[in-house]
Symmetry: C2
């Protein structure tokens, strides 16, 4: 099954994405949590969850002291927009080359942000100071080359975007006021260029979104296997620029493991290895200059990726452990034995409870079953319901291998006193990943601010990190008089040498959400300092963007920053890729001034 | 079992390496093939092979028409050496900082070359034009920093070396005549700095050689698992600078997979990520600027590597297939099912025969056994003895996993009509790897030039590549009137997307070995062009060095070369790391002139 000619892919998302996606938050317009007459439910049929959520509501009400009568989901779509800085020569150049663009206000707005709470707040309150002046839609590599030439010639700033799902403010329009900012929306470049079954390789234009990749490959019997939480909306190019990681990295690897060859249009020509090979020793591998460049060196246009045959079997499972520490030790031993399931995540007690409750209102039967489970876990296993945690698992492969793999993992789990939690809970845990951002937006409607942040850490520091960061957050909340809050952690990826940890903080405090958000940002910053002090890293896969750029120099040292700048100067001498990520905006501007002087 | 303090490691190799190693070729002084009274034998007891090799001799005599009476192993150790370009200020600076150095002729000579045939020929015939002026032995990271400062201040060129085993002329002293060339011998920096069992990480000074790493880790119950063919003599730092690959990469990964953190002293400060983590998304990963930099950006001093528990079981096995093509298809399916044994190599018919014959003279019993095997393979299996090939396998792990893994591999082998070749042949194939360079040097003594060169290639082009390159070499040999030659290939590493292929060419032609060598170089160059034309790469793991630098720009494009240079200028503004690898010497000199002008 080889493909030798470019194949058009019809995306589930239209070019006018605002027709299907929310303009003021995460996800599909037709899917959301709603609160009516103090009843919470999830509407929409895109996810295997729907209906009333009374248990969840009661639990959340208990923790956050929420007043459901104050539910306020309304945000008014703007009708006026910041005045565009127009560059007529640039626009004429686009037209001349037949390159599609728009200066419609909503087109500009929905591509000028990411998905941090700050982005969402700015959208809802119309507080954005700067948005894109024009949106450009290239339809092939050559058009990107033309756009870059035009930008170089006319001092236009280019911001490449895919799904605008960044949570580092990498895709948030930077505060540049003296130049036209053109956002290059890559989503119309989404063809499958070729596919080789013998080599298990496929070449895509990188504007293709995750769910389109899997659907198209699935039709042909293949899978890519890269599933970040944003997978429904984010693009291959975004993953490359962010150095993304997926939930199934244990089996398929991270984005840098999956990509064999990548093409980037820089401000100084096309950067691309001139061969497609499994592995080489030909000097420094400059693909790694592309991974993680966050739009500041150029625009990624095409990538050759490894693919695999779609697995015969997908099995969800879950395991319950007495406490978080035991769960971490279990994951560590699984990693040491290199027995990781494709996805394997440890959720702490709060998330465990939350997941249990995030079911439609329990009926009589499930009530009985839950009571029996409770009895079994506490009376028979001696577990404390306020301490137990769960590991959700996903196995993939042919039936025999999956069975063998599961037996191997269970044998290790047994040593750590695990109780099987069943397939249903495993699958639910996996599904909930895609709902986290919907919950966050719903919480916001109830005046609860909530957000996650992640890190990676060596195994020996994982438990201390989780304890210290949680303690730090509690302390900071209490110091600020925040009575109603929840802090939680999960381990989402396992490696030989360590793991990825997510923290979640939610609280309800002030009546003005934006003031709560300010508090949140303060606390998150202190928590990040604590993470770094505990040996954690600035980011496992979210990237640096603008949100975390203040810490970038400390992570890579001044020699690293110098190297970043030298590469930037070589690849983008006119600083057209002025997103201002990684190295702070003011530093970029300084560099720009130096360029202008010479 | 944690180690928190630096541990001195006593190397099997002394600081005066010429006391134990040959100065004029590969390997230990006390191990070699010799020919006495037309009898060939291997002396020395470091390898599980010794004694007379009558079968091998007869086979080689048949192919190469060797006149054993013309065996000439003698090379006269020089007593005079090229005059050193002295830089007194630099030397005084070394002394002042307590840094050890030598300007002894043999000390200089044995660190001024690599292990290509050209290097060996130059040594034996005293034809080296330029050797190191001084050898410097730092004993810690800080001394390297001091050496680099002194070199920057005094316009001294620095060439870092480890075991001088390079086969790309990367460690061959470049033709710089106006500056002192100091070779920085890293082998005295070989401490185990710390080890963490919980994280399965260890930090080494990178001057440690492969066999010392494995022995020291072995004592503690661990292994690194990186085994390039040069593993007995090459260093961790050399592997990093070369972007090396080991025989067991299927299980342990290549060097870039094994190294978690690396420290390099550049001409502009120390480049090092400021954290030790399993994986991050913090901008471009500049470690990949260090991997493959071939001594041209700086000196690697320390590295944190992943380690594993030493396997409970090591099992060698071998499989016999009807022909090379079938062997490739087998490897491809094993890769597709991700069932690769830690080491798994396909040798073609010539190497198969050669390996069979490279046993001490067969006795009556083995003669019978061999005849029976021959009968079985030809009459029962229908194999053609002039076409059969073998795959040698090494399995590692606990007993149960190894058994399971072997069963999985055998199940695939069965589909391809394989016959088990037994443990003895598997082990022998593995051992022979370490003897290849000894054979090459011995052949040279018999006026046969022989050398290998490698590439990596996508699966679908592997068979065509092997056929075309062999045909090309045969054609070029015949065109030159070379009657006695052998050309052979093996597949040494398997990946999802392709494999690594080695080619071997040996011939006997002219009575003057150096003229034969010139012919060899011509043919190798044409073969390399053929490799590239067939979609193969410039190198899988040997690197570019000086030998293959003419093709470097075509591999990375001019944008890539520009990027290489921009990084070079940033990290080494005074071009003290003037080894002249990757980008050709004349280009480096041009750059140097530009530096001098400014």
């Amino acid at each position: 099954m080889d493909i030798n000619k470019p194949q058009k892919v019809t995306s589930v998302l239209p070019k006018r994405r605002q027709d299907v996606l929310r303009w003021d938050g995460w996800g599909y317009k037709d899917c959301k949590f709603v609160c009516e007459k103090e009843r919470v439910s999830f509407v929409g049929d895109r996810y295997p969850i729907s209906g009333r959520m009374d248990n969840f509501r009661d639990w959340a009400r208990g923790i956050f002291n929420v007043d459901l009568t104050k539910y306020n989901p309304a945000a008014v779509q703007p009708t006026t927009f910041p005045k565009a800085v127009r560059n007529e020569v640039f626009l004429r150049g686009l037209s001349k080359n037949g390159i599609d663009y728009s200066d419609d206000g909503m087109d500009r707005l929905v591509r000028s942000h990411g998905q941090t709470l700050t982005d969402v707040e700015n959208l809802r309150k119309h507080k954005y100071k700067r948005i894109a002046d024009v949106i450009v839609w290239p339809n092939c590599h050559d058009q990107v080359v033309q756009i870059v030439e035009l930008a170089n010639a006319n001092d236009v700033a280019l911001i490449p975007v895919g799904g605008n799902t960044s949570v580092s403010m990498a895709s948030t329009t930077p505060a540049i006021h003296d130049r036209t900012i053109a956002v290059v929306d890559m989503t119309q470049m989404n063809r499958l260029m070729w596919l080789s079954e013998e080599n298990l390789m496929a070449c895509f234009e990188v504007g293709i979104i995750g769910q389109d990749i899997e659907r198209e490959l699935g039709k042909l019997g293949f899978t890519l296997g890269h599933e970040p939480d944003s997978h429904e909306f984010s693009t291959l190019g975004g993953w490359i620029a962010t150095r993304a990681s997926g939930m199934k990295q244990n089996r398929y690897g991270n984005i840098e493991d999956l990509v064999l060859r990548v093409k980037m249009v820089t401000g100084n020509g096309v950067l691309e290895k001139q061969f497609t090979a499994p592995r080489v020793s030909i000097g420094p591998d400059f693909d790694h200059v592309i991974f993680g460049s966050e739009g500041t060196y150029g625009i990624v246009t095409e990538a050759v990726v490894k693919i695999r045959y779609a697995p015969e079997v997908r099995r969800y499972e879950s395991l319950v452990f007495s406490d978080f520490e035991t769960g971490v030790h279990f994951l560590r031993e699984v990693a040491e034995q290199q027995m990781q399931a494709p996805s394997m995540r440890l959720i702490d007690n709060i998330q465990f409870k939350c997941a249990m409750l995030l079911d439609p209102v329990a009926n009589w039967y499930t009530g009985i079953v839950e009571a029996l489970k409770h009895f079994y876990l506490t009376a028979v296993c001696g577990f404390d319901m306020d301490r137990i945690v769960a590991v959700t698992l996903l196995f993939e492969g042919d039936a025999e291998n999956v069975t063998q793999h599961m037996q191997g993992v269970y044998a290790i789990a047994k040593k750590y006193g695990a109780v099987k939690g069943g397939e249903y809970n495993g699958r639910k845990g996996y599904t909930l990943t895609f709902l986290v951002a919907y919950i966050r937006d719903f919480a916001w409607d109830l005046n609860i601010v909530g957000e996650s942040f992640e890190t990676s850490i060596a195994w020996d520091k994982c438990i201390t990190l989780c304890a210290n960061v949680k303690a730090c957050i509690r302390r900071e909340c209490e110091r600020r008089g925040i009575k109603y809050f929840a802090v939680s952690s999960r381990v989402t990826q396992s490696y030989d040498a360590g793991c990825c940890v997510y923290f979640y903080l939610l609280f309800k405090h002030l009546d003005i959400p934006e003031d709560s958000l300010k508090l949140f940002m303060e606390i998150e910053e202190i928590a990040r300092e604590e993470i770094l002090a505990c040996g954690g890293t600035l980011s496992h896969h979210h990237g640096v963007g603008k949100l975390r750029s203040k810490w970038y120099p400390d992570c890579v040292s001044q020699v690293g920053v110098g190297l970043y700048r030298a590469v930037k100067k070589e690849l983008d001498p006119k600083n057209i890729f002025a997103a201002g990520n990684l190295v702070r905006q003011e530093q970029q501007q300084q560099q720009q001034q130096e360029v202008n002087k010479t």
